[in-house]
């Protein structure tokens, strides 16, 4: 008979839908987030299929515009932003701080229902005709001229924003007030630091996008003319308000993944992170400076050139903490005991691809260069390198790393390695050609394009097909592991951390007795087994 754990403690739909257990809520999120990933991926596939040929011959223009819009809306708001925090963060943060649950378990459950409600609104918008404004909802197109259900989609985003806010609020209070005795800030795992920084962004930035989409809905529905040029309204004000959140939002997407990578690198080199406080503080630095760079999306819209210079300068500065992390991860691997389990393959992929993605961001931070590449496929390639090559690889790495803890099962390691490789190859083939296409001048959001771009687009679509298969394979072996996977011990990887001290899967209350911490929780020193020591 199975020991009592959070998975079998209570059966039936009600015990899941009314749960207060952060671990069950994490699984509720995992299910819905995966669903939205599939939906967003479907839209992407249609976009890439259309772009196989220069002519707009697969879909009508209007449909194509709706496809890329829905791809962006679903992927940004319903997949990337909640992904790691709402699944891995929800599951692990209480355990990593030595607590029985988050500070506000019922608010945690509420945040999931809010997320689902927002998702329903957006799916209703999609199914009743879609939205074709682009995920950025720029005015006056979105308020005056767009085809489709802008208000419904905007409300869907508005509602879901509150899910993000409540998650961030819960994490902040938990990390401040519920750490176990002896668990000082500088003994916290880096996963917790990165989620703390993420939560700061969530609570400070999300309300601004909330009010902004509400204004778009008000203008479109009630004809309030706040962005209407005919009334002296300023369409660029919308861009400022929108990007004030949406730029920090990209740090919401990447910081948790960076936290995952810090954990994986330590576990699979059996070594403490190199430069712990630098990595911890760099998360905070990214969060803070990230709020000050939004104007780099508006260089060519005619904002003051001096304002532009300030934004450009800060956009370069915000890259430095990320560089510090990359160097520290690399230094951690030096003289580590390196294993190639699948989570570590994802970490290697992340470090390489994030480096490229981050450095190509500098191309966009440079004002003179941005004139040429703004609104081209160069931008598309840059952000997909970070979000897919970075964030999604971090998410998958984390899912693989903590899967035994979450499910109590082992997945098939050979299939995991195979799909990690397939994802890496497919990803690069999809997005590297887009850098070239972008510098050549191929604009974004183009349904049809001049024929000289076709070779690059064909390569990209081929890559996307490989990538899609690579993403489907884990769905299969993770599901299979739940029914037939080998059972896992407490600590299958030989890793360190509070989560590995408790059973896999954990009991509902996490700890039978509250831990007291007397040292850093990531110690890997044993008396006589160091690398290089006889």
């Amino acid at each position: 008979m199975d020991t009592l754990n959070y998975l079998n403690n209570g059966h039936g739909l009600k015990s899941w839908l009314l749960t207060k257990d952060h671990k069950r809520i994490a699984l509720l999120y995992l299910a819905s987030i995966t669903g939205f990933f599939v939906i967003g991926g479907f839209f992407a596939l249609l976009v890439r299929l259309e772009l196989l040929t220069p002519a707009g011959d697969l879909l009508t223009s209007e449909t194509y515009n709706k496809m890329f819009t829905m791809h962006g809306v679903v992927m940004v708001f319903f997949f990337l932003i909640p992904s790691i925090p709402a699944t891995l963060g929800n599951f692990l943060i209480p355990i990593m701080v030595g607590a029985k649950d988050l500070a506000f378990p019922r608010i945690n459950l509420l945040s999931w229902y809010i997320y689902v409600l927002g998702g329903i609104f957006t799916l209703v918008a999609a199914m009743s005709g879609g939205v074709d404004t682009g995920w950025t909802f720029y005015t006056p197109y979105s308020t005056a001229a767009a085809n489709g259900h802008v208000i419904t989609a905007a409300l869907g985003v508005f509602i879901t924003g509150f899910s993000s806010i409540l998650t961030g609020l819960n994490f902040i209070v938990t990390i401040h007030r519920m750490r176990a005795p002896g668990l000082t800030w500088f003994r916290l795992p880096l996963f917790v630091w990165s989620h703390y920084a993420t939560s700061l962004i969530m609570i400070l930035g999300t309300p601004v996008i909330a009010i902004t989409v509400l204004l778009v809905a008000a203008e479109r529905g009630l004809h309030f003319g706040i962005f209407d040029p005919a009334l002296g309204g300023d369409p660029v004000l919308f861009q400022h308000l929108f990007w004030f959140y949406s730029h920090p939002a990209v740090y919401i997407m990447i910081l948790p993944a960076m936290g995952v990578i810090s954990e994986i690198v330590q576990a699979f080199t059996r070594k403490n992170i190199f430069g712990y406080s630098f990595v911890a503080f760099s998360s905070l630095a990214i969060a803070i400076i990230g709020f000050l760079v939004w104007g780099h999306h508006i260089f060519v819209a005619g904002q003051s050139v001096y304002a532009g210079m300030v934004f450009s300068f800060l956009s370069f500065v915000v890259a430095i903490p990320s560089a510090i992390k990359v160097f520290n991860w690399t230094a951690t691997i030096y003289k580590g005991s390196v294993s190639f389990d699948s989570p570590m393959l994802y970490a290697f992929g992340f470090i390489g691809l994030f480096t490229i993605g981050g450095l190509t961001g500098l191309f966009l931070a440079s004002m003179g260069l941005d004139i040429h590449v703004h609104d081209t496929y160069f931008v598309v390639a840059h952000f997909h390198y970070i979000m897919v090559g970075g964030a999604i690889m971090g998410y998958l790495g984390g899912l693989h790393y903590w899967w035994p803890k979450i499910s109590g099962r082992r997945y098939s390691e050979p299939w995991a390695k195979f799909s990690a490789l397939m994802i890496f190859v497919g990803f690069n083939l999809t997005f590297f050609p887009q850098f070239i296409a972008g510098y050549l001048g191929m604009p974004r959001r183009y349904h049809a394009y001049p024929p000289e771009f076709q070779v690059l687009n064909v390569a990209s679509t081929l890559g996307a097909s490989i990538l899609a298969v690579g993403y489907v394979i884990p769905l299969i072996y993770f599901a299979y592991s739940l029914v037939a996977g080998e059972k896992s011990v407490n600590d299958p990887w030989g890793a360190r951390g509070l989560e590995w001290e408790i059973p896999s899967p954990p009991p509902t209350e996490n700890f039978t007795v509250s831990p007291i911490v007397t040292g850093g929780t990531h110690q890997y020193v044993y008396p006589s087994k160091e690398v290089g020591v006889a």
Binding site: I165, R177, L215, G225, L231, L237, H240, E509
Partner: protein, 249 residues
């Protein structure tokens, strides 16, 4: 066993003490303390629960500042671009009603603080409910005045959109001003309504004798919310009603 709360922590650039990892995590005996009936099981003790709840409300209020902040930012941009237009539009707002509402809300913050105080000193349930009720009455008064003002705007064609009509010199900025007026005071009113909802729940709990000096956190954090909504109005009133400064004819 070293006391974890006073142990010397070496600081970021020194190696943490080399301990075999298994010793770093030490279970301790769970001592059974008398539980307050309102203690939620995931907290160690009431002190932690109260600190967490209070911090949670403060963090939430920070998000509310950012929420209103977007509207204030839009207001600043447009007022800077159209100072005369905004002043002209502002003159059509009724300063008397605005002042009445400001006084009403300030007094309601006083009654709210007294409600928290009454719970804090374990005053009889009747007293607590009285102060909560007074706060709600004042809040409802505020909403009533806003209803009068909104109706007036409607009849004078000052609601932005196809029916907006402006006789003055700056019709376009006036329409933007009134868009912001309705968005800002409307959002504020929605928060007021939510506040009344919260206060009814608190009122029922107080009537059921659930608050005393050992446990009054819900009243306190409801009070934080109420004060916040009041402070937002304190900003809205001069920015919307008092532009131009001079007294009306």
């Amino acid at each position: 066993m070293p006391n974890p709360h006073t142990e010397h922590f070496p600081g970021p650039f020194h190696d943490p003490p080399l301990v075999a990892n298994l010793d770093a995590i030490q279970p301790h005996e769970h001592v059974a303390l008398p539980h307050h009936p309102r203690l939620q099981h995931h907290f160690d003790d009431m002190a932690q629960q109260i600190e967490a709840s209070t911090l949670g409300m403060w963090v939430f209020l920070v998000t509310e500042i950012m929420f209103f902040g977007g509207l204030f930012a839009a207001y600043l941009v447009y007022r800077h671009a159209n100072p005369e237009g905004f002043a002209e539009a502002s003159h059509h707002l009724n300063v008397t009603w605005g002042t009445v509402n400001t006084i009403v809300l300030i007094v309601s913050s006083l009654t709210m603080a007294l409600a928290v105080r009454s719970a804090q000193i374990s005053a009889p349930a009747k007293t607590q409910v009285a102060w909560i009720g007074a706060t709600m009455l004042l809040g409802t008064t505020f909403l009533g005045v806003k209803a009068i003002e909104y109706t007036d705007k409607f009849t004078h064609h000052l609601v932005p959109g196809p029916n907006f009509r402006w006789e003055g010199k700056h019709p376009a900025p006036a329409e933007i001003f009134y868009s912001l007026y309705f968005c800002m005071t409307g959002l504020h009113a929605i928060h007021m309504i939510i506040g009344l909802g919260i206060m009814s729940v608190i009122g029922v709990m107080a009537w059921r004798r659930q608050f005393d000096e050992d446990y009054y956190t819900p009243v306190e954090i409801a009070g934080l919310y109420w004060h916040f909504v009041d402070i937002v109005w304190i900003f809205l009133f001069p920015l919307l009603y008092l532009i131009g400064g001079h007294f009306r004819e």
